[in-house]
């Protein structure tokens, strides 16, 4: 057990730092938050630069243009780029981190050839169409119907929380192909070209006043059967294969940012109470950094340790504590959302909700790690009796 980087990791980091030092000053100016066409240009340009430098698809196999890098290199890449304030993955998020890995694991050769090289080069932007108004935490309860009609599925339904829905050229679409099967067994995974007739995209204005997410309405959209990834009705399994590509690194950039924000609060805390709280936050974030390194170390050896299932819950809580301390310390200086610290406080309100609420996380930890039984249905109460 140690925290020392190997020689090859050191070499990787040195090369990356050198490249960042040469590349970042030459980048065009970052676009404003609401200028989506400019954001797409900027983010895909960054992806192209990563590709040209050999940093695209770090976790992807070399057979599909990836780097097949060690998890520790993936960690170092995210740590160093975030420290250097390089652009984020941005609109390339779904393509490079979710849709691409899904195609690698489950796509056929035509699907791989059509999309993987373009995703890596920043030529293709993807969005995710999974959640529905009636299927949030209970994602497998989704209702969007896909009815087979010859070589096509005819898809009708409504999706929500589609990240980058208004700029994606393709969407990851989950549909119900067998309404009579148990809910996890009647789902299929489709590649949705977002320009097909019958698709309407409406941006959702979040409490930040921005529109990373959209609603997508599907009205008898004809999707070729050839766009199905994996077997028919097997889409639930297909959606879950991508997790292994994260290898413990999903929150590395978040962690680097959180620690920077906490460090930046140091000179601004005035009272003993604030100083103590900041110390507790710094300690919590340092501990979570250690847990990140542990998770990555275990992923490198193919070990599924408990920390991987625990991280998001613990991080969400630490981040909320940091956000609240920030507002306390800023006081009436915290009422301008142009201040990135305030914007971050607002943005991080989504952490305990997105990608599995903290309550769902606790159920998962309780049932999968601790072996606790699922909540059992109650017998009906006798009529006229308010108590059980």
């Amino acid at each position: 057990m140690d925290l020392r980087l190997s020689e090859s990791d050191e070499a990787f980091r040195a090369g990356l730092r050198d490249w960042l030092a040469r590349t970042l000053p030459a980048l065009p100016e970052a676009p404003t938050r609401d200028d989506w066409p400019a954001r797409v240009r900027f983010d895909t340009d960054w992806q192209r630069r990563l590709f040209d430098a050999g940093y695209a698809g770090l976790s992807w196999p070399t057979a599909y243009g990836g780097q097949d890098a060690a998890p520790s290199e993936q960690l170092l890449f995210l740590e160093e780029t975030t420290r250097a304030e390089a652009p984020y993955v941005g609109v390339n998020f779904v393509g490079t981190l979710h849709a691409g890995p899904t195609l690698i694991a489950e796509g056929d050769e035509d699907q791989k050839a059509a999309h993987l090289p373009r995703i890596l080069r920043g030529e293709e932007v993807w969005c995710q169409c999974f959640s529905e108004p009636e299927a949030g935490s209970d994602l497998a309860g989704l209702r969007t119907r896909a009815v087979r009609d010859g070589d096509h599925y005819v898809v009708t339904g409504q999706k929500i929380w589609c990240s980058f829905g208004h700029v994606g050229e393709y969407g990851e679409l989950l549909v119900r192909t067998d309404p009579d099967a148990p809910k996890h067994r009647g789902i299929s995974w489709l590649i949705l070209p977002m320009d097909l007739p019958g698709i309407e995209v409406r941006p959702i204005e979040t409490l930040l006043g921005s529109s990373e997410f959209c609603e997508v309405f599907l009205d008898e959209v004809r999707v070729p059967v050839a766009n199905r990834v994996g077997a028919e009705h097997d889409g639930w399994r297909v959606t879950n294969v991508t997790l292994s590509f994260e290898r413990g690194t999903a929150f590395v950039s978040e962690m680097v940012d959180a620690r920077r924000l906490a460090e930046e609060l140091r000179p601004h805390v005035t009272s003993t109470a604030e100083r103590r709280e900041l110390g507790h936050v710094l300690a919590a974030l340092d501990a979570l950094w250690a847990l990140t390194i542990r998770n990555v170390s275990q992923a490198s050896r193919g070990v599924a340790g408990p920390g991987a299932l625990m991280f998001k819950l613990a991080y969400s809580e630490a981040r909320d504590r940091l956000g609240e301390l920030t507002m306390r310390v800023l006081g009436r200086g915290g009422f301008d959302v142009h201040d990135y610290r305030v914007e971050e406080r607002l943005r991080t309100l989504s952490l305990p909700i997105a990608a599995g609420t903290s309550q769902v996380q606790r159920n998962i930890i309780g049932e999968r790690l601790l072996g606790l039984p699922r909540e059992q249905p109650w017998p009906a109460a006798p009529s006229g009796s308010p108590a059980r």
Partner: protein, 304 residues
């Protein structure tokens, strides 16, 4: 970089865990610390790990297991003093003015060591025989004596040695507390699986399940902090040793306390009784949070 237990470390951890299960079950733990317990722990190599060539990361694993079993005694001090002061050694950090001077396990000690910024002094326990015992100490497994002053004693370590002891002492107490936090999570989970109400295990209720998940997460995060601090002691070049050590003591101290209370809650009424060990974990957590710095003290330094 492999921040996970090596095969040797897993074997070491499992061996000490078995030893604790065999020799320090609840009955033995409740009998308290004495010369026999010391001899047994010494025989297991608990105090001589560093002298025997083990890394701090290894020692930390052993103390996590001792904490899991809640083994009583001046274990950290005797480990720190090994090779410098013979016999059963207890210790004291020079307390802040206004705080009572309380000596732990005095009747079992050969020597008391006192650590402050200037160094370490050793006081023969015989010189402290007039101390007044507390007849109802908070932690029943840690007997306390009160003294007004500590005799001068003999200098056995300089300021640099004292600093080293403080760093190592913080990590070992934190390791012990991380083990306590894990034990509280494990015991509460086991109880929630066995205890039935409304014809079902109480662990099936989400209100209880979520509490148990929080206990498990808190223990795991504290353990990561403790292991990281131990790795910093072994290899100071990997980062800021003082920061890593204080982080561990802060997190593990909070985890031991919060998990003992959470375990008490899951146990319900039976958790409020003397017979169940939960209160022993809770009381030790309070005690250890006054040893080698409290979570709040370390937090304040971390943010300064």
């Amino acid at each position: 970089m492999n921040f996970d237990l090596s095969d040797d470390q897993v074997a070491l951890r499992d061996a000490i865990r078995r030893r604790c299960e065999d020799r320090f079950d609840s009955t033995r733990v409740r009998a308290g610390f004495d010369a026999d317990a010391f001899a047994e722990l010494a025989d297991a190599g608990v105090f001589s790990l560093r002298a025997d060539g083990f890394a701090w990361a290894d020692v930390s694993l052993v103390f996590q297991e001792l904490g899991r079993a809640l083994v009583p005694g001046p274990l950290v001090w005797s480990h720190l003093a090994h090779g410098l002061v013979d016999g059963i050694v207890g210790g004291l950090e020079r307390p802040a003015t206004g705080q009572p001077i309380l000596l732990e396990h005095l009747d079992a000690l050969d020597t008391l060591v006192v650590v402050d910024d200037d160094g370490i002094v050793a006081v023969p326990a015989d010189a402290l025989r007039g101390a007044t015992p507390l007849d109802w100490p908070l932690d029943p497994l840690t007997p306390l004596h009160r003294v007004d002053t500590v005799p001068a004693g003999t200098r056995v370590g300089d300021a640099a040695t004292a600093r080293g002891w403080r760093d190592a002492g913080r990590v070992l107490v934190a390791a012990f507390q991380a083990g306590m936090a894990q034990a509280c999570a494990d015991r509460a989970t086991a109880y929630a699986l066995a205890r039935e109400q409304f014809n079902r295990p109480i662990g099936s209720f989400q209100a209880v399940k979520h509490l148990l998940a929080d206990l498990a997460v808190r223990a795991e995060v504290a353990r990561a902090a403790v292991d990281a601090a131990a790795c910093h002691l072994d290899d100071p070049d990997v980062g800021d040793v003082d920061r890593a050590v204080r982080t561990a003591k802060c997190l593990a101290g909070e985890a031991a306390l919060a998990n003992a209370k959470g375990s008490l809650q899951v146990h319900g009424g039976i958790g409020f009784t003397w017979d169940v060990d939960v209160h022993l974990y809770l009381k030790r957590a309070w005690l250890l949070n006054t040893t080698f710095g409290s979570p709040d003290e370390h937090a304040e330094v971390l943010a300064s």
